[in-house]
């Protein structure tokens, strides 16, 4: 147990400390000169790369149109590379054509920063597809999220939103690229391969042939983690010993998952000029995530129930689907961290987690704001803040305000639409697939656990997470089209609506905050926000949770 506590302190505490200087750096990279027209030396380079559209400062509508336009181009390029991979170079193992709905799903998935994978990397993808289509989107889709957050924060600071085409390059070249380079090089020395040779063929000591897939893995894995992408080079993701070879590669990858989402909160605070407020938000997020980590480690300490009747030791926790080299706490910690952020990579098979442990990642995806995906996590939290200050304002009978902006019916409607669309996609999707062969015929487990597989898949798609209860036979036309579409809608609705809210707020006159204003920097606000998140976010899904993981726990684990 002492090892588990040390491990959590090292990972979460260490990353929280590192996120402070990173947030400072991200503020410098994303928002140079704090709007005083003092661009850093890179801005002019980005303007000449981006061309004429980089010149003007954009209002929220122009910003959104540019963002969507860039995403259309991302989609088309990725789709084309995947569709023609069998004719393209860098394909030493001769990977064949992919099925149409799988291409749609995969492209949507990587454009939406989700990385839900209905294929297995080492089976289906050429090296060119992995790098130029998928890894490229792992960079730029994360950059889109970061750009959107920078624009949102500038708007709340009462400034112009900036220019999307400059922001997306700042995020790619100044934030993601240098970090990815450092992490990739460190991963190399833990034993993650980086080669363009095809699979190695071995003759084992017992004389059997074993084909060992490898490839340019280290470069891919670094940005997979840092960009809250999560799509693995190999099918089983970071459980694979060549994707995550040692205890220390696992530590490095876990840190990489949360460091930018944590840094985003500090960057937000710096841009709006309210670091105390950022500290309150950071604390709320840390508490919500910490609660699930504690739960997951506790629930996963129960031994594998299926072995209870056999002569098998019962003194260790559930090890099905886990790697020994990471240690006992690493699986549950990663499961929570990867779903707290919208990363979705795994270092243990979530389908084989104990029932209530499996509930923890689901709750993380339902809330989707602590710390959330790169950029978009903080944006999701902004939606909860809008609703939270509105409710608080109503309770004390004052005009609701946030940072001096009056929050009125229009803004709250937009925020609620954003939050409720999340529940709509998950619950309606799950309901349809649970009662039709689309879902029922694809299950790997029976009973409540089968239901959990469907619920998890839609939660993952709607949260732009990308992890799965991977037993689900999800490479079908129905699953590919349904989740592909949910991923795209769930990506852009929670980016467009918050920017629209900021557009609407900043059209008003900003009030000066007085002693009568509800503070956003104290414990009362933190409590109010936490309650809003739990009530709006989690309770929506409670009935579904009782049908899945809770029912399974009650049936078997007592």
């Amino acid at each position: 147990m002492i090892q588990a506590i040390l491990f959590v302190i090292m990972i979460i505490g260490g990353t929280a400390l590192l996120s402070w200087p990173l947030g400072r750096y991200m503020n410098w990279a994303m928002d140079p000169g704090a709007g005083q027209g003092k661009p850093n030396l890179f801005t002019s380079a980005f303007q000449s790369i981006g061309g004429s559209a980089t010149g003007q400062t954009q209002d929220w509508k122009r910003y959104v149109v540019s963002l969507l336009g860039f995403n259309v181009v991302m989609f088309v390029i990725c789709f084309a590379i995947l569709a023609f991979q069998q004719y393209l170079p860098l394909n030493p193992d001769g990977r064949q054509a992919l099925e149409g709905s799988l291409i749609y799903n995969t492209t949507s998935s990587f454009v939406a920063n989700t990385n839900l994978q209905h294929y297995s990397g080492e089976v289906a993808m050429s090296y060119l597809s992995q790098l130029a289509a998928l890894m490229w989107l792992q960079f730029v889709s994360a950059a889109v999220g970061l750009a959107a957050l920078a624009a949102l924060a500038r708007g709340l600071a009462g400034r112009k939103l900036g220019n999307f085409f400059v922001d997306v390059q700042r995020a790619t070249f100044l934030v993601l690229l240098p970090l990815a380079l450092v992490v990739a090089i460190l991963l190399l020395f833990t034993g993650v391969p980086m080669t363009f040779q095809g699979s190695a063929v071995a003759t084992t000591l017992e004389g059997v042939q074993q084909t060992i897939a490898r490839g340019p893995v280290a470069a891919f894995v670094a940005i997979k983690q840092l960009g809250t992408n999560g799509g693995g080079f190999f099918g089983p993701n970071s459980t694979h010993p060549l994707e995550n070879p040692t205890f220390w590669s696992n530590v490095l990858q876990t840190i990489s998952i949360i460091i930018i989402p944590m840094g985003c909160v500090w960057m937000f605070g710096r841009i709006i000029g309210r670091m105390k407020h950022a500290a309150v938000l950071f604390t709320v997020m840390l508490i919500l995530m910490g609660a699930r980590i504690t739960g997951a480690i506790g629930f996963e300490a129960a031994p594998t129930h299926a072995f209870a009747s056999l002569p098998i030791t019962q003194d260790v926790g559930n090890l099905e689907g886990k790697e020994l080299r990471f240690g006992a706490a690493a699986g549950p910690v990663w499961a929570v961290v990867t779903t707290s952020t919208s990363n979705g990579s795994v270092n243990a098979m979530h389908d084989s987690l104990n029932p209530l442990t499996g509930l923890m990642p689901m709750i993380g995806m339902w809330l989707n704001e602590d710390f959330g995906g790169v950029g978009v996590g903080m944006i999701n939290m902004f939606l909860y803040i809008v609703v939270g200050v509105f409710i608080a304002g109503m309770m004390i009978g004052r005009t609701p305000e946030y940072l001096g902006w009056r929050v009125e019916a229009k803004e709250v409607k937009f925020a609620m639409m954003g939050l409720l669309s999340h529940g709509f996609f998950i619950l309606v999707g799950t309901a349809i697939f649970a009662v039709t062969p689309w879902g029922a015929a694809t299950l790997n487990n029976i009973g409540p656990h089968g239901f959990s597989e469907i619920l998890y898949e839609f939660s993952s798609a709607a949260a732009n997470n990308g992890s799965g209860f991977e037993g689900l036979g999800d490479n079908t036309v129905a699953w590919n089209i349904a989740t592909g579409t949910v991923m795209l809608l769930a990506r852009f609705i929670p980016i467009i609506l918050p920017l629209a809210i900021v557009g609407s707020l900043s059209a008003k006159r900003r009030a000066t905050e007085s002693s009568g204003t509800l503070s956003v920097e104290d414990g009362t606000f933190a409590g109010m926000l936490t309650v809003t998140v739990v009530i709006v976010g989690a309770l929506t899904f409670f009935p579904a949770a009782t049908l899945g993981p809770i029912a399974e726990h009650v049936m078997f684990m007592k």
Binding site: V73, I212, A219, A306
Partner: protein, 186 residues
Amino acid sequence: METLLSSLRISVATMVICVGGYTGVVWAIGQTAAPDLADGSLITAPDGKVIGSRQVAQAFTQPQYFWPRPSAVDYKADAAGGSNKSPTSKDLTDRATETVAAYGATPENPLPAELAAASGAGLDPHITERAARYQAERIAQARNVPVDQVNQLIDTNAFAPGAAFTTDRLVNVLALNLALDNNPAR
């Protein structure tokens, strides 16, 4: 139109720098500073044939070798995966029953749980030190050597993967089996 043009220009720039440049730099560093690791940690026999990867489990079924953890994909390192079964699943009980029979485990001498549970990728190269000791007797008999000798090999190969952060010492199954084969006293 302007949006499209800028999007295309930025796509090309990010593609060149983040896919071409970044991948190339990482590849070059890997191939010069740690070529063995970058190529997948392959182990070759004296005759140059590849035996396997140090990091990837391979199947061992003969009694004179240490056996790895079960694999849901039969140790296929080109199509890895886990069982994805719920820990409450009867399928797992059935699979574990076979494993228990293969080891001849009894209630007096129960099988360490890690030898019954399949790993996430089905390629976990390690077993715990206690899981290795559990197999020492069988190996000593099959090789006709004293069990102390096998245990000594386990001692020299066991390591703590995460220093103070982990409880169990592990051994690499392939490395241990190679050491068994190279043991002059066999």
